[in-house]
Symmetry: C2
Subunit: 201 residues, 2 copies
């Protein structure tokens, strides 16, 4: 049996999906996450809604795919950071990395919030959403351990930091004029200073 014709088709499929995902991100970037739909992404990719539906059946599926890309991107950034930093400085950078401090991370938070708002009705979306939540919670846990050490304060410090960071992300991505990057960073650093003082006692 000859598989020659099969292999290129699979490769093309993955390539096409990636091209469509890039079109999706251009729509997010230029028009906002609320503009993502089968129609707008098809238009951006220069294809028809029917052809796009072959890869992504609905707006929810597009957004689920986008959130998975966010998770992968964040995991790659964490790996990059831990190749160059260690200890408390690494912890602080991982926490900063979860905040909408630049355009890329603002888009990521917006995709995450859009998914959270839509996911109640859709088990597939809930799965992606829950994976993202678990990744963020675990990253915060590890980062706080690097900042405050492994003492008895760690569980409470990790919890409060996790909720604080997502509150900052929600506010910074939604009201960037009121809560600009400098504000987000300042609140995070003040919080970590309080935790560090607690750990020293």
């Amino acid at each position: 049996m000859c598989y020659n014709n099969l292999v290129p088709r699979i490769v093309d499929h993955a390539l096409r999906r990636r091209e469509l995902a890039e079109a999706l991100w251009r729509v997010v970037r230029r028009d906002g996450v609320h503009e993502v739909s089968v129609r707008t992404v098809a238009e951006e990719a220069g294809t028809s809604p029917g052809a796009l539906r072959h890869y992504f059946a609905s707006q929810d599926e597009l957004l689920g795919f986008a959130l998975r890309a966010v998770v992968d991107r964040a995991a790659a950034r964490f790996a990059g950071l831990s190749a160059t930093l260690t200890g408390a400085p690494l912890g602080v950078r991982v926490l900063e990395d979860l905040l909408p401090l630049d355009a890329e991370r603002t888009e990521e938070v917006q995709v995450y919030l859009a998914l959270v708002a839509r996911s109640a009705a859709d088990p597939a979306l809930r799965r992606v959403r829950d994976e993202a939540e678990a990744l963020v919670a675990a990253a915060v846990d590890e980062a706080v351990r690097l900042v405050v050490g492994d003492g008895p304060e760690l569980p409470a410090a990790s919890r409060s930091t996790y909720h604080l960071v997502d509150g900052l992300a929600l506010h910074g991505a939604t009201w960037p004029e009121r809560y600009p990057p400098a504000h987000l960073r300042e609140v995070l650093h003040a919080h970590l200073a309080v935790l560090a003082r607690g750990a020293e006692r």
Copy 2:
């Protein structure tokens, strides 16, 4: 000129809007905020989508109306609390009141998050959303002042509490099994205990 016919029409209008709003909240309560639409609310109210559109033209307008109701309800609860409590206990109760500790407040947070996710494209929704944000920020500000007093720590304490409370609200409303009311309350109280220790120094 005779206005006799006009006044009852206005009254009926307000009454009808309130009835429709109650149907909207029944849909939120039973099926979740993602199920709110002109079609589902009309069905719940026993009317036609066309008749409902006379009062609420779109799903966004319905949700904007719902968020305004959330703001009014929260303001009424704050007024009720301040009639029976004062000082730090009032502050703590106001902060707890912003968390999804029961079904009513879970619905409110879900409406708020749904609006935040949709509001980017719609100036009218952004206005309601921004008013809600300002109300929450001001309530937190006043509550933290009651808890930690008017010292130099107040601005930082108020900021971190505001972001923490909304992070808790986001997590509690989205993952109630992982972050149940007891967890939300515990994190809030631990945070306030740290702030109070800071203010005492």
